[in-house]
């Protein structure tokens, strides 16, 4: 008997590192609230990456606890006040290290994927 929570956790384990990086990267362009953040990630990825809200908010709160982003309540013209997140100094540092880690990883994965492709082409 595995609970919905356990299933969710299995999925975030794959996504977690990447989602954190995506959030940090997106916030680099300016403070945003949760909904805007999810929309930005979706739009900027050409509608390919749809952020599950069930992962987005836990990730935001986790990053906030780690001190990489900071939150602030702001009144909005649409009605409810909004929780707006911005990148902190240590968040910026974290983004740099995550980016280089991600680049190493994509290069490594590409190295494995590409030779195969060449073989099949010849």
């Amino acid at each position: 008997m595995s609970s919905p929570k356990e299933r969710y956790q299995n999925r975030t384990e794959i996504l977690q590192g990447t989602l954190d990086m995506l959030i940090l990267q997106t916030l680099q362009w300016g403070p945003r609230h949760g909904y805007a953040l999810s929309k930005a990630i979706r739009t900027n990825s050409g509608e390919i990456l749809k952020v599950d809200t069930g992962s987005l908010y836990p990730a935001l709160h986790r990053l906030e606890r780690k001190g990489w982003i900071a939150a602030e309540w702001k009144a909005s013209e649409v009605g409810p006040r909004l929780r707006v997140y911005r990148l902190t100094k240590s968040g910026r540092k974290q983004l740099v290290s995550e980016r280089s880690r991600w680049e190493r990883m994509t290069a490594a994965i590409a190295g494995i994927m590409n030779p195969e492709k060449k073989e099949s082409e010849t």
């Binding site: 008997m1 595995s2 919905p4 609230h33 949760g34 809200t53 069930g54 908010y57 990730a59 909004l82």
Partner: protein, 886 residues
């Protein structure tokens, strides 16, 4: 940033708000894209997914999840407890009894055994004595102490002290009897104690005929001197001698040997026991005790060797008769802690073990209750499982619940323990050292907390294991309320019941053995009639009663006056009173028998006593042969003694002792041997204590061998205590400054004699009773539950014609089978365990068959009684109702 736990509520609201804002924005956008408000709201919801799960997972990110869940579990547990108040009350009461008993006994063990003695670096303190073979007792005298002080290489510092004696304090209102001890100037330094006010004794105050100084205890300082700091330098009168107060001891000061001391005075020991005054050589042997601080690295064995060597050198230099008397002294050295608590350790450990058993039984009982309830909660467990609760989450819920119950039991137990500790302070025998320090201190509280949590886990595990076994499908399918516990839980219940019976059996055996010991001890005839006897002590100040004639005539006059008091049947005075063990031992030489063998040190000895003629009638000591001492045996008559039967057995196996003569020399205040003629034989009285063997004893008349310290003995025809003031009046008529002290009835003396046995037996019997009661409740619970589970089967059996007798036999048989297994295990365990307490037993073997048979029988009766109600209920099952039950 991590926010504090207590801001969770606020934070929760904010999370809700954040999620709402998200939904609002999404909804608005969908509406802008042309959807109807209703569709837009649904689309936003769909897009977002499960709001509850998202919020919960986000809350996890805060890192407070385990606390939040624990609080939730505690709340749930509390609700559950309140829903079944009877069940909860029984559980908490059971645990409170177990935990309370453990806390109380642990507080005693903690104070007495585990706590370091209240002295600086107490681990290096030792207590030393010499066992003198010729005397059959421990004795250290001044010459030896002088040797230790100057010749040893093992002690950093060494001190001598006397047993606490009584002093009369005058000049501060009514004369008051204080307990005081003589200590050497090094005493407080050895212990590492500094006076809270003033100073320690100076070396010159500790020399013979030095200035008389006194240190007061905190209690006396407060009670008699109003805690006045100007007390330093004040002159007080102790036994009419002026002493200058030089200091006040710290409030937490505890004297040694489990005695209290209200006042300390310098010992003023001379280096030699032999003193010559007025051309007469006098031997003054003042028995003393040694306490010392070992040098770092010094060992007990090394210390024994060193002291033996010093003893040998010292004794070499003594005159012949003393050398013989004190020869073959064997040094004995103990860690001070062992000396202080060594003799009570076995009893306390047995009690601690016993309360441990009680707690285990309480745990087993509560586990049984929980198992029964687990059956009722099977559906809840199954539903939770189906809704996605993880196993460990369930286990945690159940364990949190049981821990909460256990903690509640612990709190109730603490209240019980606080009360029990008061009882212990009141009823515990006076010979448990440092008991006054037993209280609910931090260490005891930590112990209770740990025990409570452990208990919670211990009894909480049973339902957890049962919950793990719950099969979702079967339980949910079964539907009806008759779902019934699984076979595993039923087996667990039986195992617990058997364990309870075995544990309570072992406790019952232990209690039985102690109770029997107590009865054996109290059945001993002390050799006199203790009922209706008043005793009181008088010590004549030697500076006023210098000659033996003065001492003789004082006691003669006093006894004459006491004899004619209304309510007094007979009155006498004695140097040594039975059971107090303060008689003096002397070497004797019987005429016509071989002189003592110098080579083998095979000396004849007898304890000596001196009494006024009325003593025998006052204590009703029987005359066996010849005559008692009477007025004929006056100061100028031939020396006459009566001897006890033990004396006759030892020295006159085949002869008639009457008319035989012997010399008896070594009293501390006698000069040279005197010859005494035996005029009678009296019955044996227990001099040293009920459990001790009777020594040969020779009793002379106090008219012929006067003493300055005597105990008055009055046989009364009225309540002995009612005569106390009359006795005091007679004494003060003779000498108005003379205090009467140590007033007690002989029955009190006797009851104090058996106090520790009575306490041990009483405490263990109480715990065993508690254990058996808990076990009986446990048996009842298991059997009642088993019967209720089998209601249908009983209905069928009865419908098919089973007789009441058959059903009864079946249920009782089942209960007794389990009881038999428990008793069997208990028997096996008891044979091993009772051997550990053989030191506490008197006149009973650890495997006493009578006790084992009785306890076995008694436990079966209890088991049978506990099964009776469930069995009877089984016979009353109405088949019609039982079969319609489903």
């Amino acid at each position: 940033m991590r926010f504090p736990f207590w801001r969770r509520g606020r934070r929760n609201e904010e999370l809700g708000e954040e999620v709402q804002a998200h939904l609002t924005l999404a909804e608005r956008e969908a509406m802008e894209a042309g959807q109807s408000p209703k569709d837009a709201r649904h689309a936003a919801r769909r897009e977002f997914g499960n709001v509850g799960v998202a919020e919960e997972v986000t809350r996890d990110a805060w890192g407070w999840r385990w606390i939040a869940e624990m609080l939730q579990d505690v709340r749930y547990g509390a609700r559950n407890m309140l829903r079944t108040p009877g069940f909860t009350a029984v559980t908490i009461l059971t645990l409170a009894l177990g935990i309370g008993a453990n806390t109380a006994i642990f507080s005693v063990v903690n104070a007495v055994l585990f706590r370091a003695l209240p002295y600086r670096d107490a681990g290096r303190l030792v207590w030393a004595t010499n066992f003198v073979k010729g005397q059959g007792q421990n004795l250290v005298f001044a010459d030896e102490y002088a040797g230790y002080r100057t010749q040893n290489h093992v002690f950093e510092n060494v001190a001598a002290y006397s047993a606490a004696a009584e002093y009369t304090l005058t000049g501060t209102g009514t004369p008051e009897r204080l307990r005081g001890a003589m200590v050497t100037e090094s005493f407080l330094n050895v212990l590492g104690v500094t006076p809270q006010l003033g100073r320690n004794f100076l070396p010159e105050e500790d020399r013979p005929v030095g200035a008389k100084a006194a240190l007061l205890s905190d209690a006396v300082w407060r009670a008699n001197f109003a805690a006045d700091s100007k007390v330093i330098g004040r002159v007080i009168a102790l036994d009419d001698m002026p002493y200058t107060v030089v200091g006040v001891l710290p409030r937490d000061f505890e004297f040694l040997d489990n005695t209290s001391a209200d006042v300390l005075v310098p010992f003023q020991l001379s280096d030699s026991s032999i003193q010559s005054s007025n051309g007469q050589v006098r031997v003054m042997i003042q028995p003393l005790s040694i306490v010392a601080r070992l040098r770092p690295g010094a060992t007990i064995a090394g210390t024994v060797n060193e002291l033996d060597a010093i003893n040998k050198r010292v004794i070499e230099g003594l005159p012949g008769n003393l050398k013989r008397l004190l020869g073959e002294a064997q040094a004995q050295v103990f860690l001070l802690h062992d000396h202080e608590v060594g003799n009570v350790r076995p009893a306390l450990l047995v009690l601690l073990g016993a309360v441990g058993f009680v707690l285990l039984i309480a745990c087993a009982n509560v586990a049984n209750l929980q198992l029964a309830r687990a059956a009722a909660r099977e559906k809840e467990v199954a539903i939770r499982g189906a809704l996605g609760a993880g196993r460990w989450r369930m286990a945690r819920l159940l364990l949190t619940e049981s821990s909460a119950v256990a903690l509640a039991g612990g709190v109730a137990g603490l209240l019980l323990a606080a009360w029990a500790i008061r009882l212990i302070h009141r009823f515990a025998p006076a010979d448990i050292p440092h008991l006054q320090a037993a209280r609910l201190d931090l260490r005891v509280l930590v112990f209770t907390l740990a025990v409570s949590l452990l208990t919670g886990i211990l009894f909480g595990l049973a339902p957890v294991i049962a919950a793990f076994r719950v099969s979702l499908n079967n339980t949910l399918k079964e539907g009806g309320s008759q779902s019934g516990t699984g076979a595993g839980a039923r087996r667990a219940q039986r195992v617990l019941m058997v364990a309870e019976i075995a544990l309570s059996f072992a406790l019952f055996i232990g209690a039985g053995l102690l109770v029997k010991s107590f009865h054996q001890l109290t059945a001993i005839q002390p050799g006199f009639d203790p009922h209706g006897v008043l005793t009181a002590r008088i010590a004549l100040p030697l500076d006023q009663y210098q000659t033996v004639d003065q001492q003789r005539s004082f006691f003669q006059q006093l006894v004459e006056r006491l004899q004619v008091l209304p309510g007094v049947a007979s009155a006498g005075a004695t140097a040594s009173i039975p059971l107090r063990g303060n008689s003096m031992v002397s070497t004797i030489q019987i005429e016509g028998q071989a002189p003592m063998d110098q080579a083998t040190m095979n000396v004849s000895t007898a304890s000596t006593n001196a009494v006024t003629p009325g003593y025998f009638a006052a204590l009703r000591v029987p005359l066996i042969e010849g005559r008692l001492l009477d007025e004929r045996d006056g100061a100028n008559a031939p020396n006459a003694v009566v001897v006890n039967q033990a004396f006759v057995r030892r020295y006159f196996e085949k002869e008639d002792p009457i008319g035989k003569r012997f010399s008896m020399g070594m009293g501390p205040f006698t000069h040279g041997p005197k010859t005494w003629t035996i005029v009678g034989v009296i019955g044996d009285t227990k001099q040293e204590g009920l459990a001790s063997e009777v020594m040969p004893e020779a009793t002379a008349s106090a008219l012929q061998w006067p003493r300055f310290m005597m105990t008055l003995v009055l046989r009364t025809s009225v309540d002995p205590v009612s005569l106390v003031s009359a006795v005091r009046k007679q004494v003060s008529d003779l000498d108005k400054n003379l205090p009467v002290y140590g007033v007690q009835t002989m029955e009190d003396v006797l009851s104090r004699e058996v106090a520790s046995q009575r306490f041990n037996a009483g405490a263990l019997a109480g715990f065993a009773g508690l254990a058996v009661l808990l076990a009986a409740v446990g048996i009842y619970g298991v059997m009642a539950y088993a019967v209720s589970q089998r209601t249908r089967e009983m209905g069928v059996r009865i419908a098919l014609g089973a007789e009441t007798g058959n059903v009864l036999r079946m249920i009782l048989g089942q209960g007794l089978r389990l009881a038999a297994i428990g008793v069997g295990l208990g028997l096996a365990a008891s044979f091993g365990l009772t051997r550990l307490m053989s030191g506490l037993l008197f006149g009973v073997k650890p495997s006493d068959p009578e006790t084992f048979v009785l306890v076995t029988g008694a436990l079966f009766v209890v088991a049978l009684a506990a099964c009776c109600i469930p069995a009877w209920r089984a016979t009353r099952v109405d088949p019609v109702i039982a079969l319609r039950y489903e």
